[in-house]
C-alpha cells in the first residue's frame, strides 16, 4: 500500500493549518489549542462547533491523532483529550505552507503584497 500523498489533501480548509501550526510546538488539549490559535492570530476565532469538526476531519485524514492524558492526571484532567500532529501531518503542513508561499509570491508579482526587499 502506498503511503498517502500529502498533496492530495491540498488545499486545506480555512482554519486547519492554524490548528496544525499550533500543534507543531507540541501536543495540546482543546482549550489550549483554541487559546494558542487565538494568540497566534487574533482574527481567527475557532468556535467550538467548528473546531471539533476540524479535529474530526484531521483525525480521519491521519493528520493529527488524539491520545489519553498522561498518567497521574486526576479529576476532570483525566477525561481530557489531547491532540498531537503526526509525521504525516507535519508533511501536510509543510506542503500547505509551501503552496501558500507560492500564492504569496504570485501576489507579490502582481503587487498585491509589498515585496520583501528591505526598505
Amino acid at each position: 500500500m502506498t503511503p498517502p500523498d500529502p498533496r492530495e489533501l491540498l488545499p486545506l480548509p480555512p482554519h486547519d493549518l492554524h490548528v496544525l501550526l499550533a500543534l507543531l510546538d507540541g501536543p495540546r488539549h482543546a482549550y489550549g489549542l483554541s487559546a494558542a490559535v487565538d494568540e497566534a492570530d487574533g482574527d481567527v476565532r475557532l468556535e467550538i462547533g467548528s473546531l471539533y469538526r476540524i479535529l474530526s476531519r484531521l483525525t480521519a485524514q491521519g493528520v493529527i491523532e488524539d491520545f489519553d492524558p498522561p498518567a497521574g492526571a486526576e479529576g476532570h484532567e483525566a477525561r481530557r483529550r489531547y491532540y498531537r500532529i503526526t509525521a504525516f501531518g507535519r508533511r501536510v503542513a509543510a506542503v500547505e505552507a509551501g503552496r501558500l508561499e507560492s500564492v504569496v509570491r504570485l501576489a507579490r508579482r502582481h503587487k498585491l503584497l509589498p515585496s520583501r526587499a528591505p526598505r
Partner: protein
Amino acid sequence: MNDLRDALAVRAFRLLLAVYPRDFRTTYGSDMELLFAERHAEARRARRAAAFCARTAASLLSAGIAERWAPVRAPRHPKPLYSRGLSMTGTLHDAAYALRLLRRQRSFSLFVVLTLALGIGSTTAVFSVVDGVVLRPLPYEESDRLVRVWGRFDPESGFDFPQFSLSNPEFLDYKAQTRALEDVAAFARRTITVGGSGADPERVAAFAVTENLFSVLRATPSLGRVFSSADDRPGASPVVILSHDYWKARFGGDPGILGRTVTLNGSPVHVIGVMPSGFAFPRPDIRLWVPLPIDPVNPGGRSSHSTHAIGRLAPGVDIASAHAELKVLMNDWKAAYPTVHTGHYLFIRPLLEDVAGTIRPALLLLLGATAFVLLIVCANVASVVLARGEARTREMAIRGALGAGRWRLVRFSLIESGILAVIGGSLGFVVATALVRAMIALDPDSIPRAAELGPDYRMAAFALAVSALCAGLVGLMPALRGARAVLQATLREGSLTATGTARRLQFRRVLVAFEVGLTVMLLLGAGLMLRSFSRLSAVDPGFRAEGLVTANLSLPVDAYPENAQVETFYASLVDRLSRTPGVTSVTAGTTVPLAEGAGNWDFEIEGRPAPAPGQPAWSGKAVIVLPGYFETLGVPVVRGRSFTADDHGRAQPVAVINQAMAARYFPGADPIGKRIRVAGRTTPDSWMSIVGISGDVLTESLDADAPPAYHFPHSQLGGTLGSTSRSLSLLVRTGPGTPTDLVMPAIRTAVRELDPSLALSGLQTVAAVVQQSVARPRFTTALLTVFATVGLLLGATGIYGVLAYTVARRTQEIGIRRALGAQPGRLASHMLAQGLLPVAIGLTVGLTASYWAAQFWRTQLFSVSPADPYVYAAVTVGVVVVALIAMVVPVRRALRVSPLVALRSE
C-alpha cells in the same frame, strides 16, 4: 444567580449538541462540554458571556448540521472518556477515589462501619432465627401436610385448657373414622432407664410411638428398620430404635448395633434400627423410640388423656376440609359420650404452626425492635455523613461546575456509602452469626428448632439486602439534600454560606427527632416487658422454692414386683437422706410444681350423683405423696391436717384437697369428712376421707391459675388405686446454711447405696425449675432490653453529634453575644432549649405511636397494661435526662471559649 446561569448554559449546550450525529457526539461530546465550560467561565470573567453563548450556539448549529449533511467520518473512539450513566470506568474510578478518601478519614469510616455492623448484625440475627423457626418448612417430606391432633377443654367442660393431649380411645376412633387424614399416629412420652453395657445407668427422654409414626412422617432409618405392626401388639418381642446422636454417644456409633440387646428399665430389648442424623421427632432431645402398644379391645379410659397424635392430610385434601370433617365427628362423639365430650373436643393444627406458633409473636416483636435499631443506625450514619459532606464542599462544587450532573454526585455518594455498607455488612454477618449462637445459648429451650439454625445462604442474602438498603438510604440522603445546595452556595469563592449548611442542619435535626422517636418506642417496649417479667417472677407460686432440690426416680417392675418393696425402698431412701447433714426434711410426690405436668384424673364424690350426661366430669390433678410433702414444700395447710406416718396401708384412706378444689366442688360447704375416690374404682376401701385443705400451688405455670388438686398417700395406694406408683420425684429441703450443691451428690450416693442399677434424672434445684418455667418471657425481655439500650446509646450519640456541630458553627455568634454582655446562663438555656426541641418532638411522636401499637402485643404482657403510666413516665424522664447529658459537654465547651477567640474564628 450566576451558578444558575452556569447550570442552564451547560444544559443548553448539551441540548444543542444533539444536532450532531450520534457518532460524533460519542467521540467528542464530553470534550466539547469541557471546553465550553472553561471558555464560558473565561467569557464571564470578561463579561462577554452573552456574546460568547450566542456565537457558540450559532457555531454548534451550523457545524452540527454541516456534519450531518457531510460527515467527516472520524474514526469512532473505542473508549469514550466520559459518559453518562453506568460506565465501568467511571464507576471504578469513583470507587478507587472513594476508597482513598475513606482510608484517609479513619475515625469517620470506623464509626460508620461499626454502627452499621451493629445494626445489620442484629437485624440479620433476628431474621435468621425468625426464618429458621417460623418461615422455613420443617425437615419432613411435604411437611405442610402434617397436622397435630389436640384436645381442647372449653370452660363448659369445667376446665379451660386450650391444648391438651388425647386419650387412647379418642385416638383410635379418630384414626378409624377420618377420611381427610390418610393416617394418624400416636406417641407418648416415656422416661426410660438405659442400663448395662458397661456405662452408668441413665434416664433418657424417649417416646413410645405407634408403628405408623415413621410412615406418617415419611422417615426412613439409616440403619435397620422401623416398627411394623408385629411390634405393636401386646406381648410382642421388645424392640427399640435409637436416635443418631444417642447411637454415637452411648454406643460409639457401633455399625453392628442391629440385633444387639440393651437394657431398658431392667429388661433386655433388641435394637432394630437407627434413625438418620437430624431426625428428632417430636423433641430435639429424644434418644430412643419404643413401640406404643394400644390394645383395641382395652385401650384405656376415654378421659385418661395421656397420648399425643399426629396425622398426614390425604392427597388432595386441604386443611379446611379436615376441619369440617372433624366438626361433624365431634358432634357424633358428643352424642355418643356426652359426659366426656361436653365442652371437650379434638382439633387439628398444622405442625409448623404447632412448633413455631407460640414463639412467633415474640420473634416478630424482636424483629420489629431490630428494624428500629437499624433505622436509628442509618439515621446516625446519615447524620455523620452529612456533617462530613460539608468538608468536601469545594470539591463537589467544582465537579458540579465542570458538568458533573446531579446524577454523578449522587452516584459518587452511593458508591461511597456502598463501600461502607459492604464492609459494615460483612462485619455484621459475622456479628449476626455470633448473636444467633448467643441467643440460642441464652435459653436453648426457648427457641424451637434451634438445631436447625445457623449461618446459611438465606441469612447471607438477607444481610446483603439490608446492606444495600442501608447504602441506598445513607447514600441518597446527603446527595439529594446537599448536592444542590452545595453547588449553589459554594461556587462563590470563599466561605461556606449559611444557606446550604443551614438546610442541612435542619435536616439533621429532623433525623435526631426521628431517632428519638424510635428509641422511645424501643424503650417503652423494653420497659413494659421488664415490668411484666418482674411481675411474673414475683408471683407467689404457693410454695417455697429456695433451698429445695428435686430428682426423679423410677423403680423397674422386674426388680420391685411387690407394692411393699416399692414402699420400703422409698421409705429407706427418705430415712437415709433425712440423716444427711444439712438436710432439713425429705419427701416425694408424683408432681414437682412447675415441672412437667401432672395428670388430671376424674374422681367421684360420695353421696353425690355422678355428673349427668351433658355435664362436665369432675376432674383434678391427682398427686400421690409421701408424708411431709406439704411441710417440705412449704405449702400451708389451711384447714384440718396433713398426712402423718399413721396414714399407712391398714388405716383409713385419707386425702387432702387444695383450696381451688374445695371452692369448685364443695362451695359453701365444709369438705372435711366428705369422701372422694378416683373414678373407676369400685372397692369400698378406695374411698378417701378428706382430712385437710392445702394452699393452692401453681403447678402448671406462673401466669395461670392453680388447678384443683387432691393429694393422697403413697402408702395407701393399694386400696385407693389398686396399684402402687413406682415413679416419684424426690423433694429435699436443705437448711438455711447449706448450699443446695452440697446436697446433690448426697442424693446420688444414697440412691446408689440402696440400688446401684437405678438412675436419677432431673437432679436440679426447684429454683431452677421455676426459672425454667419463665424462660421464654425472660428471653424476650432480655433481648428487647439489649436492643433498647443499644438504641438509647446510638440516639444519645446522634443528639450529641448534632448539638456539638451546631454549637461549633455558632461559636462566632456566641462570641459576639458574650462580647455584647449576654449572660452565659441565658445562652446555655437558649442552646439547651434549641437542642431539646427535636428531642421533645421525637418523644411525643414516639409515645403516641407506642401507645397505639402496644395494643397489638398485649399477649406478651403479664398483668401490665400497655398504657402503664409508670413506664411511660420513666421513659420520658430517662430520655430527657440522657438528652441533657448528651448536650452538657458541647454547651459547656461553647461557653468556655473566650469571646475573643470566638470572634476571631471563621
